[in-house]
């Protein structure tokens, strides 16, 4: 299962974090720093899977943004690697502007895709449906 998903910028600052198993807020900082260390400094030609403590990290870089997913040993690395791309495509489809200012909406998208540490939806239209409904509500 998926333990956490982080969006980190190139400077190593966390932009979005979602934990699927409770981690103490004090320990999150340490974990995130470790994860950043493990992934950000890898070269382009190195593979996207890193073994970290009990779990594996799968990361992908999009321009200045890194998306890192922590998964348990029994999860398929490649499928998570694809999932990250799927997630980014959805973000791309919905947001025309900087996503940083709309993190709550990123959360909505993420919650539609991953629930309880499991992939629940990968269809872009279905993922975005609740968000679009929300937008309509806000307009009216």
């Amino acid at each position: 299962m998926i333990k956490f998903l982080l969006m980190v910028n190139k400077q190593g600052q966390t932009r979005l974090s979602k934990y699927y198993e409770h981690v103490d807020i004090g320990k999150r900082a340490v974990l995130e720093a470790d994860v950043v260390k493990g992934c950000l400094f890898r070269k382009k030609e190195e593979c996207s899977f890193v073994e970290y403590k009990d779990y594996k990290l799968v990361y992908r870089q999009y321009a200045a943004l890194f998306i890192v997913v922590g998964i348990t040993d029994n999860e398929n690395e490649l499928s998570i690697y694809e999932l990250v791309h799927n997630f980014v495509e959805v973000l791309d489809k919905y947001f025309s502007r900087v996503i940083m200012f709309n993190l709550d909406k990123v959360h909505i998208i993420l919650d539609e895709m991953i629930l309880n540490g499991h992939v629940v939806e990968t269809n872009k239209n279905r993922i975005l449906a609740p968000l679009l409904a929300l937008d309509k509500m806000a307009e009216s």
Binding site: S17, Y20, C47, I108, N116, H118, V120, P130, L134
Partner: protein, 1016 residues
């Protein structure tokens, strides 16, 4: 009222929204913390307003701040307020905040039950959805219990959007409230065939997770999954199903056979790499679990290997990595199929990615055979030279060392030179390993000794070239082997004189003691060889010169600080002086000197002891002394029948003597324990160690003269104490039981008189000590029925000592003492792992499996077992719950028993006494990296040096400096945290000012110190 609303909305225009906050933080890079604290103040103001829109906006900002690492638990109630808003736009903000911030310990969650129930049954599917999503993050056992029914109803909701979410949430509900699994399972199973693929996928996910925890219960679903696998086109679902099958096949081999075909079909047909990878992995797992010797499966293996080759050849590094990873799994069972791809794997050694290189190395490790060894070694040697990255390099050398040996002589020759070459590399950590390999090869293989000796002599001769930074990286261990080999096989030396000279150089005295000792001893062996050589050539002059050399050089070693070096050197020096006298009288001594070292030292196989035949008439199972009581309990029943007559004659006579003897031994043991600084008597409180326990004054620590502070480090071993103790049963009850037992025995005609009564219980004052938590034996573990035949009386004491090892591993030694009268066997030690501390189990064992205690316990016997725990964070004390299960074997029955205990890892136990010099200490305090805290103890009535000794002993500190009634102390955690104390005393009040780079660790250590003194 209307005015208030207008005013509220005007205010709102000036409020920051999330966007402004994010921007603001960006624009205040210099004083971010200050900016955020003003923002938090604003948010607090906003939360005080009645307007729900303002509150929602504030909560939205808080969620962002929480993500940045700020604690926002103080706003929990406001979050609940926003959650209960009727407007979806606000409600979702509330739920988002709750899902990010709430956890099981958040107490306001109790207030949400009704609100969540209302939202779950809302006509708006998004209300329901957002509530379900939130629940998945913060569901507590209470919530799970109260809402399980509501969620179960939602599993059959008309909208698939709700159904799939409800199904997934059920998994969390099962975890928190296991009773819900049984009633919900039929419906969950139904969802596997839901018309909506999303719901189906959710159900598969949940069952996969459940099956991973307990595969047995889900075997019955295999046919259903089989159908799904052949019909589904959703790769996500397929991957999960295939994983599930991977978990089920070890339980049901027939399933494995059936799986191979559809899996290979998928491998052929799929274009999705993730699915391909999963299939290959599962095929491998299936083939491993199937019994070997199934020739018709070689095709499947071939297919897998081929597909993996394609992955490894791919330019995508990710595929390459996974390919190698999967390949190593095949290697374990089908090494031949992998070996044919050696070229490819060797290529990967040149990869730019270190993790890929490590994987490739891992594979090579398992691939070596007689034929390809030379090639692989050559390639590896090239790599050692240019290898980058320390992990990789160490790994590389490790591979060279351990794996590439044990073939033919020729290879061994090469091996020796490889080892020698390896020593030339700087920065290896494997000195010890290289040394033991050298010794091993030289001792076992006669044919290569000459070669090995020559190489070693060279190494000794050149030792000075390496000594520079050798000591630090441990390569000097190699010299240990070199010296020994040269001495033991000195007949092969070309120029023993020169080697002897090399071994006695003054530089040698800078080597670690154990190596010097070997040097000295082997110098003597060499001396014998040299003498023989010279006397053979009747060159008495040269022989005398050699003796002179020894007489001159040995005194250096006689002065060594290392006792063993000193002892050996002075012994040999005297010998040589005597020989010198004889030489001056022209007496031939070579023969006699050589006789000192005559005979070959042979390697002893680990099993050798077992193979020694038992001399006739010696019965190893017979008792030398009578066991404390009820010795027949460990006899098998039929045996007892045959032995009956004999026991009648012999046993009663011995009983009395034995009891005395036992009492004496017990006394002796107590004395020994009291005098042994490494054994601390257990007592309900540590204070008793000092005051009640007899003979405890002899524990050296109390008498430590703190004016010599650096002697204190002798102690660290003695103190990591954890203890568990089973509460003693009330004595009366025990006595009663004993009587009953006696009756029973008489009835059975065993004819054994047993006047001992309950003595065994009274005599062994359970050894009772520090830090360890006492757990009462659960009632049901005792033979509660008075008519029960079971005479066992499992009174045992477990003493647990933890010794700290490197990194974050903690070795806990547990002393098991059987205080019952029965034989205990099949003991299994298990601990419920916490997130932080885990019992290390052997590879392949599940996370909940117990560890077998490698011995059995006859009555009254104690033994020690060691368990390794890995600990992540050491800043908090930990209590781990555990269970010991065992079989109690008594004269006529054997029963399973269970004993619960708690392991208490105090923070103190993570500290290691580390000496620190005052200047380093001062620097540390000045560095400003340390947080401080302090502690006052009132009414401490003991001499100051006792007080310090107590802190040193119980909490592993060393004294840095002491001036009058003020002392500075230092200790270090296994993870390198510095802990500094300044202890002052005046009028029975002790104040401790402490500093540490980890405030919570410090707090806990201080608490523990306080605890120690509160028990005075």
């Amino acid at each position: 009222m209307a005015l208030k609303i207008v005013k509220g909305s005007i205010d709102r225009m000036f409020d920051k929204n999330l966007q402004d906050l994010v921007r603001g933080i960006r624009n205040h890079k210099e004083d971010e913390a200050k900016y955020i604290s003003t923002c938090i103040d604003e948010i607090k103001q906003e939360l005080k307003q009645d307007n729900i829109a303002v509150k929602a906006n504030a909560v939205c900002k808080l969620t962002y701040l929480q993500m940045l690492g700020y604690d926002v638990s103080w706003a929990a109630f406001n979050i609940v307020e926003v959650m209960s808003s009727s407007k979806f736009t606000y409600k979702r903000i509330g739920y988002l905040a709750a899902s990010q911030c709430f956890h099981e310990g958040t107490d306001v969650i109790m207030l949400t039950t009704n609100q969540i129930r209302k939202d779950l049954s809302s006509p708006n599917q998004y209300d329901t959805g957002v509530a379900l999503t939130g629940l998945s993050c913060f569901v507590t056992p209470d919530l799970a219990r109260d809402l399980a029914n509501d969620i179960m109803t939602l599993m059959s909701h008309t909208k698939p959007y709700i159904r799939k979410k409800a199904v997934l949430i059920m998994y969390k509900v099962f975890l928190k409230y296991p009773e819900s699994l049984r009633p919900a399972f039929p419906r969950l199973k139904e969802k596997l065939e839901d018309p909506d693929p999303g719901v189906q996928s959710a159900a598969v996910n949940v069952i996969c997770e459940l099956a991973r925890r307990n595969p047995k219960n889900y075997l019955s679903l295999a046919p259903l999954f089989f159908k799904l696998m052949t019909s589904s086109t959703n790769n996500w679902v397929l991957i999960k199903i295939i994983k599930l099958f991977g978990a089920l096949t070890p339980l049901e081999p027939r399933l494995g056979k059936k799986l191979i075909e559809p899996l290979t079909n998928l491998i052929h047909s799929t274009s999705a790499m993730s699915l391909l990878y999963e299939c290959v992995n599962t095929v491998i797992a299936v083939l491993i679990s199937l019994s070997s010797g199934m020739p018709n499966h070689s095709a499947s293996i071939q297919l897998c290997v081929q597909k993996l080759r394609i992955l490894i050849e791919d330019s995508d590094q990710n595929l390459k990595y996974l390919g190698l990873l999967a390949m190593s799994k095949i290697l374990k069972t089908h090494p031949k199929s992998v070996q044919s791809h050696k070229d490819l794997i060797l290529q990967c050694l040149d990869d730019k990615d270190e993790s890929i290189r490590l994987r490739a190395l891992d594979l090579l490790y398992g691939m070596v055979s007689k034929k390809n060894l030379m090639e692989i070694v050559k390639k590896l040697m090239l790599h050692v030279d240019k290898a980058e990255g320390t992990t990789y390099r160490d790994e590389l050398q490790h591979t060279c060392n351990t794996k590439l040996c044990n073939c033919s002589t020729l290879i061994l020759l090469r091996y020796i030179s490889i080892l020698v070459e390896l020593t030339r590399l700087e920065g290896t950590r494997h000195g010890h390993l290289i040394a033991s390999q050298m010794l091993d090869v030289a001792i076992r293989v006669k044919a290569i000794r000459a070669f090995a000796v020559a190489q070693m002599a060279m190494l000794l001769d050149n030792a000075h070239l390496l000594t520079g930074n050798m000591q630090r990286n441990g390569i000097c261990e190699v010299l240990y082997a070199a010296a020994w080999i040269c001495g033991e096989f000195s007949e092969h030396l070309e120029d023993p004189n020169q080697t002897l000279e090399a071994m006695l150089r003054p530089k040698v005295a800078t080597l670690p003691g154990h190596i010097q000792a070997v040097y000295v001893q082997n110098a003597a062996k060499l001396f014998a060889t040299v003498l023989r050589k010279h006397e053979g050539a009747t060159d008495s002059q040269a022989a005398q010169e050699t003796s002179q050399l020894l007489v001159e050089r040995l005194p250096l070693f006689v002065q060594s600080a290392n006792l063993e070096v000193q002892e050996r050197a002075s012994c040999i020096l005297q010998l040589v002086k005597y020989i010198q006298k004889l030489q001056q009288k022209d007496v031939e001594v070579a023969e006699e000197v050589s006789a000192l070292f005559a005979g070959e030292l042979n390697p002893v196989a680990p099993k050798a002891q077992k193979k020694v035949p038992v001399p006739e008439g010696l019965d190893l199972d017979a008792w030398i002394n009578e066991p404390p009581s009820e010795s027949e309990s460990e006899d098998e029943k039929p045996k007892a029948v045959f032995a009956k007559e004999e026991t009648k004659h012999s046993r009663p006579r011995h009983t009395e003597v034995d009891e005395k003897e036992l009492a004496r031994r017990r006394e002796a043991r107590k004395q020994e324990q009291a005098n042994n600084p490494f054994y601390i008597k257990s007592s309900p409180s540590s204070q008793k160690v000092y005051q009640d326990a007899p003979g405890v004054e002899h524990i050296p620590v109390v008498q430590i003269d703190l004016s010599v502070p650096l002697k204190v480090p002798g102690m660290p071993m003695s103190d990591q104490y954890l203890k568990l103790e089973e509460e003693r049963r009330q004595k009366e009850k025990a006595e009663k039981k004993k009587k009953e037992k006696k009756k029973k025995r008489e009835k059975h005609g065993k004819g054994k008189k047993h006047d001992s009564g309950p003595e065994s219980e009274e005599d062994i004052t359970p050894a009772h000590h520090v830090d360890i938590v006492t757990e009462e034996m659960p009632e049901n573990a005792l033979p509660s029925d008075d008519d029960d035949k079971d005479p066992n009386d499992p009174h045992k004491v477990y003493d647990i000592q933890g010794n700290l090892q490197d990194g974050s591993q903690v070795v806990v030694s547990v002393i098991f003492e059987n205080k019952s009268d029965s034989f205990l066997k099949s003991m299994e030690f298990n601990v419920l792992d916490s997130l932080n501390s885990k019992l290390q189990r052997p590879e392949g064992a599940g996370p909940h499996d117990g560890l077998v205690v490698p011995f059995q316990l006859p009555p009254g016997v104690s033994n020690e077992a060691r368990f390794i725990f890995s600990v992540q964070s050491i800043v908090m004390p930990q209590k781990l719950k555990g269970t010991l299960t065992f079989i109690v074997k008594s004269e006529d029955s054997s029963t399973h028993e269970k004993l619960d205990f708690k392991l208490h890892f105090t923070c103190t136990s993570y500290l290691i006494t580390t000496p620190c010099y005052s200047d380093a200490y001062a620097k540390l305090l000045e560095s400003g990296d340390l947080k401080s805290s302090s502690l006052r103890l009132e009414g401490v009535n003991m001499p100051f040096h006792h007080l310090l000794a107590r802190i040193c002993f119980h909490h592993h500190f060393s004294v840095v400096e002491r001036i009058d009634s003020c002392a500075s102390m230092y200790s270090r955690s296994i993870q390198g945290h510095h802990v500094c104390l300044l202890v002052k005393t005046a009028d029975q009040t002790v104040s401790i000012d402490a500093k540490c780079d980890e405030p919570s660790l410090l707090g806990n250590v201080l608490d523990e110190i306080k605890q120690t003194f509160s028990q005075c």
